[in-house]
Subunit: 158 residues, 2 copies
């Protein structure tokens, strides 16, 4: 695939710069037990996210990250160059699934693909872009699938 | 509506205890600028989540919470008694939308309704429950809609 950003890997892309099928790959993030527990204590204090010992008797059979923690790390990877949209990544919503649990030591990255581009009918300065982002671990296992609708600016007309 | 939990508001509910149309209301959480910035610095470092002054010229016209922060707070409210499911809240995925931004000072709560109950065909000890959770601010404005599929245990058979 041709480099979509020959001028620099973090060049910001407008609607006109995107095409269906275009793909982006993020950097990586390693998650550990301390991160999992810290997020869980603040936002998702359930035994299977808090304590390796206490998690053994639960649904997951061991400590796993909150799905919302995986979602937050995914966003961090997208914002950090994994999806270089002009004006930032502004999501209106989407579908999310967690097909496999994230355990301590997983090294995550995000692979994104543009599924749909739709200029706004009412707002000539923007459009909606549907992006599928798969979060995978170092073995390629998909731990999250997010299909998000993003608001993306169009280039200013002269 | 009859109290679904006459024995105590945090009694944990199995699949057999739930019915379509059953509703639950969480406690509240007040979000402030410090929380918004702290979450954003870690997971969503974009100008409209980081700095009130810098956010003025952006899409949102001021500081707003990351949608993933709203999702995480929603989870905290559900886990803290807003959705008392036996064995905890284990989500397989769902649909999420953020119809309105969350600004500093918003006081959030979550109103949930059971949409569908489906015993597992392959696993007699569990079922799938679809729950719609609306996160609202103190004025009733819906800031997030989450329609989630949860894994819920069935009662042990004698």
């Amino acid at each position: 695939m041709a480099d979509p950003n020959p001028g620099g890997e973090k060049a910001a892309l407008c609607l006109e710069d995107l095409r269906v099928g275009q793909r982006f790959v993020s950097g990586t993030h390693r998650i550990d037990e301390e991160q999992i527990r810290a997020f869980a204590q603040q936002f998702d204090p359930q035994p299977f996210h808090l304590d390796a010992e206490g998690a053994k008797g639960t649904f997951f059979g061991g400590l796993v990250a909150s799905g919302w923690h995986t979602a937050a790390i995914t966003m961090r990877l997208l914002v950090g160059g994994g999806l270089p949209i002009a004006g930032g990544i502004v999501g209106a919503g989407g579908e999310i699934a967690w097909p496999s649990p994230v355990r301590p030591g997983a090294v995550l990255h995000v692979e994104s693909e543009i599924l749909e581009l739709r200029p706004s009918r009412s707002r000539p300065d923007r459009g909606m872009v549907t992006v599928r982002s798969e979060t995978r671990d170092q073995f390629g296992v998909v731990v999250q699938v997010l299909v998000a609708k993003l608001v993306v600016p169009r280039r200013m007309q002269p």
